[in-house]
Subunit: 391 residues, 2 copies
């Protein structure tokens, strides 16, 4: 049924290793083809999945997408091609000439000379329908296919780009990357409920002997990173983290990726906040410049107004307010909170959201917390712990 | 006892946020200081750990290392400094002028104007001794300190560089990075014994309800990646992988990082082998050019001859031989194997090692295996399965 499957790991072995088959035309990703400025009939081959089919008089228009970008490449074929096999969802290999497009919708299009259906797709059986917008809840049933939709494709391209940007930022700024362990016997600062790990029940013999101590999935690489910063000064990790919290919410995941960094010889909290601000901004800039169409799609259909918020964030310095100031702002708010803000009590999500709105939708650092609200190892201010409200 | 600890997360809060303390001199990493070509008395501050102390007439020579490179920066101080506190292992902040060194051993040195001991180190209690080479087995007792030795520092810098190079290679070649899940209910192709995951025993209530199905730690992201390659064409993952194999050997780890990639529309096995060869070479080149001193250290003290092998690998194309050829080579070998090579039986480590030596210490791809030795989903050659020896 599905085109891609046939070619996954589809490895035809040539009889002669040193002499690969000569290629009639160069393979090109859709993303690269779309960027060609003055197309002059370059002979190229594109491979991907058909996203739309349209017949118009003697001409057949196809859109082919290979996941390298949100945009598809328009294929123009004449009536000599049999359109019956060229169905939505099929995977094809198209060879032809890259030419300037007549339409204003795109720069270039591919004038097909040869179209090969690699995997056909039966519309009735295919759960994703042509020209329909599917709710995410519906797509959840098809984890093996949903990434061929615009929404999931865009989100995963953005994630990939953001991941690369995070690695680049730290590398460019002299941080050593550390793979902190996933299996660990420490539960860090008690950041959350732990998953315990044991050899599967299929293994014979006493399980206790595998690890000498109970083994858990990491909730944070912080302790390992702190040790490493005592040798490399600046270190970071970006790996999977786990919480055994059985909550169904946007804020609770059993498994998620977390960025952590530790810096020795830091002189002020400002130095740390600067690193965090730069990391956010560098990552956002990279995503906006490398995936503008994907961001636009999220902006329009997934998180309305997101693009404007990101651009606004990039143009402004992050704000820094003290815990005492934050409580004052919250006390004066016209909004009714489920939890009444009170000095000495931790901030709730509703409070944090209000503070960000109050500060003009720019990220806000809240510093100088009462020491009672923080873990034992947090460094106290030089004027001593502050556990009572001061004017 | 240990300098670093005192400053880990050492965050002095300034009373005024907008007005950071003016700095007398620019902070510089040791790595960057060592690269200054024509030092002309630039005013810089370096922070790190003392690696050596030497008094000579009226002059005190220190070597300070911050983990940014294997090499330390030489600090030259006059007799006005009290050398009693400047002990091996202490962490210091040194301010001074970067000048051309009189010695041929280094380009630059730092003429100290101010040396501040941030954390002192008591030589007797410190398990790493000045000028001693410690066996790795000894250092294993001190996981929180061993990274301050040359050997562990070099290995972790190389790992960090290799990690960055792997991400760069795939990104530069149009692969989408996918975080394949660590928690999974599939055991892939049965690649190894599984770890099972359950909420820790501290959690009350029925554990069975957390996941609907038994949950394991991934042994491979292959199946997830294959699905993703059906949307993005080229995908990769580089994450932690787990095996519950209770073997104490160099080849068995409970947790390790694995690179996996999947490509749709591959036309020949050669295309795949080319990606693998390019990945190896790009990563090796990056490590050799970015960490030459670290590689040299490993070459001299850890893996003798390693550097030459890497350079040899870079200069040559990887070889490709068929399984039948491999068996022929092994049969003609003068070496006695623990497992006699036989057509139809899988290759052992001793066989693989011999084949690499036979081929001149260049990586070798062995292709065209008998189909019986491979998993069910491997694509058969176009001339059909080969399960008997052919001439």
């Amino acid at each position: 049924m599905l085109g891609a499957r046939r070619l996954l790991g589809a490895l035809r072995l040539c009889s002669s290793v040193s002499c690969p088959r000569p290629r009639a035309s160069a393979k090109m990703r859709v993303r690269d083809a779309l960027r060609v400025q003055d197309a002059r009939g370059e002979c190229v081959t594109v491979q991907g999945w058909i996203r739309s089919v349209r017949s118009q008089k003697e001409v057949l228009f196809l859109h082919v997408n290979d996941g390298s970008s949100l945009e598809s490449l328009q294929i123009v074929a004449d009536s000599s091609f049999d359109s019956r096999e060229l169905t939505f969802g099929s995977s094809v290999q198209v060879q032809g000439q890259l030419v300037k497009s007549q339409s204003k919708r795109q720069n270039v299009e591919l004038k097909a000379e040869k179209i090969e259906v690699i995997g056909d797709c039966e519309a009735k059986a295919f759960p994703i329908k042509y020209k329909e917008r599917h709710p995410l809840e519906y797509l959840r049933q098809y984890p093996h296919l949903r990434c061929r939709t615009n929404a999931l494709g865009s989100i995963l391209r953005v994630r990939s780009e953001a991941t690369a940007a995070i690695h680049s930022y730290f590398k460019d700024n002299g941080f050593v990357h550390i793979h902190t362990p996933v299996l660990t016997s420490n539960d860090c600062e008690g950041a959350g409920e732990l998953f315990q790990v044991e050899p599967s029940s299929k293994i014979k013999g006493p399980k206790e002997s595998f690890f000498d101590v109970p083994a858990f999935l990491t909730v944070s690489g912080q302790l390992h990173l702190e040790v490493m910063s005592g040798a490399f000064t600046q270190v970071f990790t970006f790996g999977p983290t786990f919480r055994a919290e059985n909550s169904q919410s946007r804020r609770h995941l059993a498994e998620f990726y977390m960025v952590e960094a530790e810096i020795s010889f830091v002189e002020s909290l400002q130095d740390l906040m600067q690193v965090m601000e730069e990391l956010f901004k560098a990552t956002t800039e990279m995503v906006l410049s490398h995936c503008p169409e994907d961001v636009e799609l999220c902006h329009q259909f997934i998180a309305a107004g997101q693009k404007g918020r990101l651009e606004h964030m990039l143009k402004n310095n992050f704000l820094i307010i003290s815990y005492t100031e934050a409580i004052e702002i919250l006390k004066q708010a016209s909004q009714n909170f489920a939890f009444t803000p009170k000095w000495g009590v931790d901030l709730q999500t509703e409070h944090e959201k209000y503070l960000v709105r109050h500060c003009g939708n720019i990220p806000v650092f809240v510093i100088n917390y009462p020491s009672e609200l923080k873990p034992f190892y947090m460094r106290e201010n030089e004027d001593g712990p502050q556990n009572t409200e001061v004017a």
